[in-house]
């Protein structure tokens, strides 16, 4: 990352509304929030005018596909983390479904090192649960945990650990190093060739259905397994009202289960498939309006712990084709905060403190990241985002930092804009521009 030689390394952020509250100043020094309060002395510090801006702790994404190694044509650690910083993130978890798969200490260390070199945000590699994501035998989870990357989140994301015994073993095994298994809940036999949410529209459009029960059945099994072996489960990209019910029940039992929802499942519905435009093809699929409302409610009441982007870059060729041939997934990092503002804040379901909890504190806790998700108080690491909630912007796929263009929000106006992001006191984004 470039730093301007004139900077003193000290910043005074003035007039920021921390968690949307009364304006205050923050002094960032030596990587931490040194002081918080109105009218701080500026001294030789550089002033960042945050009048009218909301300050949140730097966002943490539990679910990012950076595509490197293997699909550098779609995204790299450099471009993906640039997108993350521009979206207000200071840490991302890089999913394991790369080529080669991140199923060894060597690969996770490579990704971790690439993240350090890029410097836009912290990159925490997710380790594969099974060798090659094939769901046959456990990868060397311990070696990944002990590597320089210190992996704590394990996932076969893209594939479901569908074998019940293997899932049980994974849940048991990660207890040795405080890990968590992040399950992509998708019963494979019920979703063979699945193209979109199974419901009224799939029948009309003649697209093979992806029934919500294929997700719900796996979640039900996994929460029971988690309770049985006393481990920790995280459920990726929850997409249906039924899944929410199961999670609510599991949490009421006191079981150690957490869950995430993507921004797109909080805003978009399966009606978009009527265009047959593969920009709206994603896994799990967009579901009904009722599901969207249930997910919002669950995020508001804490049944769903976190928003995670499932940022999934795909090359133009993989999307500019017929629906069935297209890859599943959509970009998310640069629009996540705006989508959450529209779906959760402007609907009155969450205030900014709630957003900070669901997009920073809780995901940091789930991923066991010590340096992230802290309240912006004196002594906390200086990881923060400044956003302008009054801004409105029309999403231009060609203006994104991601190497890919597959945003479902192209041409759509979204509220809010990230003005600045600080990683340990150093701006990664200033005036909305990558530093």
């Amino acid at each position: 990352m470039r730093t301007t030689p004139t900077t003193t390394g000290r910043y005074v952020v003035t007039g920021a509304r921390v968690l949307g509250r009364e304006p205050t100043d923050l002094l960032l020094e030596d990587g931490v929030v040194a002081e918080v309060g109105p009218g701080l002395a500026r001294g030789r510090a550089e002033v960042v005018d945050a009048d009218g801006l909301v300050a949140l702790p730097g966002l943490v994404d539990l679910h990012t596909h950076l595509r490197e190694p293997g699909r550098e044509d779609a995204e790299t650690v450099e471009t993906g983390t640039a997108a993350a910083a521009l979206g207000g993130f200071t840490a991302v978890h890089a999913m394991a479904n790369t080529d080669p798969v991140a199923d060894t200490a060597g690969v996770v260390e490579q990704v971790w090192r690439l993240g350090r070199e890029a410097g836009h945000c912290d990159v925490h590699p997710v380790g594969a649960v099974t060798v090659g994501l094939t769901g046959e035998r456990l990868a060397e989870l311990g070696a990944m945990a002990e590597s320089a990357a210190r992996v704590r989140v394990f996932s076969d994301d893209g594939a479901c650990v569908s074998d019940a015994v293997l899932m049980r073993r994974a849940l048991e095994y990660v207890k040795a190093f405080g890990g968590v298994v992040a399950q992509h809940a998708q019963e494979p036999r019920l979703t063979q060739g699945a193209q979109m949410n199974e419901g009224e529209l799939s029948g009309v459009l003649g697209l093979a259905g992806w029934p919500a029960v294929a997700e719900e059945a796996i979640i039900a099994r996994d929460v029971l397994l988690t309770a049985h072996v006393g481990s920790r489960l995280h459920v990726c990209h929850v997409s249906s009202a039924g899944s929410v019910e199961i999670l609510r029940w599991a949490k009421s039992k006191g079981w150690n289960v957490t869950a995430e929802v993507t921004p797109h499942h909080l805003l978009l519905t399966d009606a978009l498939a009527t265009s047959y435009d593969p920009l709206f093809k994603v896994n799990p699929p967009l579901r009904t309006g009722e599901d969207v409302l249930a997910l919002r409610e669950a995020l508001a009441d804490g049944t769903i712990d976190a928003v995670a982007t499932d940022h999934a870059p795909h090359s133009h060729e993989d999307k500019d084709c017929e629906w069935a041939a297209a890859a599943m997934g959509m970009l998310g990092l640069e629009t996540a905060l705006s989508v959450v503002q529209e779906a959760m804040v402007e609907t009155g379901l969450l205030d900014w403190a709630g957003v900070a909890d669901r997009m920073s504190s809780r995901p940091a806790r789930i991923g066991l990241l010590d340096g992230h998700g802290h309240a912006l108080e004196a002594g906390a690491p200086a990881n923060l985002v400044l956003l302008d909630p009054a801004a409105r912007r029309t999403i231009d796929p060609f203006a994104l930092a991601s190497r890919s263009r597959n945003t479902p929000y192209a041409g759509r106006e979204l509220p809010g804009a990230v003005v600045a992001t600080f990683l340990r006191g150093v701006p990664t984004v200033l005036d909305g521009k990558l530093q």
């Binding site: 193209q195 199974e198 419901g199 009224e200 529209l201 799939s202 029948g203 009309v204 459009l205 003649g206 697209l207 093979a208 259905g209 029934p211 265009s275 047959y276 435009d277 060729e317 500019d320 084709c321 017929e322 629906w323 069935a324 041939a325």
Partner: protein
């Protein structure tokens, strides 16, 4: 009419009658010694087939040629396309050839929709069957056949109000069923879909039709029984295991002589082809006087002529027919 024909729902009641009436007029042509009209001279129709269907391709080809259009057959099956050359690249090639209409058959649902709406080509797109989605010209030829058989000598201007049409078979995977439900509903018919529950899609309650699991309960009140092709692979585990055996399917949902005997005297038996004789339809039923299966093929050409004519000529009067 819309610029494209992608779905049975693209046609209003007036549009559907216009196509059927135009097809009637064009059908007269078949009885004349010179079967060609100069109407589409200088226009290019491309048959773009990503999936084998000789019957449908030949039907569209004959229709275009009788209207004097230049026809280019582009069979993508087995060529680079099926190995992943994009639909888009193919479309751009066709655009460069100056296609005025592209008749597309594709294994992926929605591919004609993509072709029509992605800005890749300027011509009209006619859906000749896409995946498990729709096949609107099949529905038009079916409606045309029903109208001729049931509405007597003067079908012009008539619709199918009050007619009961029973469609039997693999509705889940059938593009014929989807287009027929939409078009026949527009034309006033009452459609009942009959199939084992495994072969009816989730959400079918919202379709403009009724459903039943019991074929015998529907026969006596049917004016039309349309049998859909059922692929034997559907009963295998790899094929989805939708029903236990061909024999059981045939026993519960096949149209045999015993079931035909229950039909009203005027009722007709239809099949979009190709048939599995002995599976969904008994050979003697397929070859009986009630069967319209051969007529459907003939009528297909007339209906496709009407569609190409109306999409491409920009006029609704067939002055050339009488000229």
């Amino acid at each position: 009419m819309n610029r494209h024909l992608l779905s049975g729902a693209d046609l209003s009641h007036a549009d559907a009658l216009l196509v059927l009436d135009t097809a009637e007029e064009l059908a007269q042509l078949a009885d004349r010694p010179i079967k060609k009209l100069p109407t589409l001279r200088g226009r290019t129709v491309v048959n773009l087939f990503f999936e084998d269907s000789t019957r449908t391709r030949i039907s569209f080809e004959a229709a275009a040629k009788r209207l004097s259009a230049d026809v280019i057959n582009f069979s993508a099956k087995g060529s680079s396309v099926s190995k992943g050359e994009s639909l888009k690249d193919t479309a751009l090639t066709l655009e460069a050839m100056g296609a005025d209409a592209v008749v597309v058959r594709h294994h992926a649902s929605g591919a004609p929709h993509r072709l029509a709406h992605s800005g890749w080509i300027r011509g009209s797109v006619v859906n000749a069957g896409d995946g498990t989605h729709e096949h609107p010209t099949q529905a038009l030829l079916d409606a045309f056949t029903m109208r001729r058989r049931l509405n007597g000598d003067r079908p012009l201007g008539t619709d199918l109000t009050g007619r009961r049409v029973t469609i039997v078979g693999d509705v889940l995977h059938s593009r014929v069923a989807r287009s027929n439900v939409l078009l026949l509903h527009t034309l006033g018919a009452e459609v009942t879909l009959v199939a084992p529950p495994t072969l009816l899609p989730v959400g079918i309650d919202a379709w403009p039709c009724t459903t039943s699991y019991d074929l015998d309960g529907e026969l006596a009140k049917s004016d039309v029984v349309m049998m859909l092709r059922v692929q034997r692979e559907r009963m295998t585990t790899e094929g989805g295991g939708f029903f236990p055996s061909a024999r059981e399917y045939s026993r519960r949902y096949g149209l045999d002589r015993r079931r035909v005997a229950v039909l009203p005297d005027h009722a007709i038996v239809m099949h979009p082809g190709p048939m599995n004789r002995g599976m969904e339809i008994a050979a003697e039923v397929a070859d009986s006087a009630r069967s319209t299966i051969v007529e459907q093929v003939t009528n297909g050409v007339s209906v496709r002529m009407a569609v190409l004519y109306l999409l491409l000529s920009g006029s609704t009067e067939i002055t050339e027919v009488t000229a």
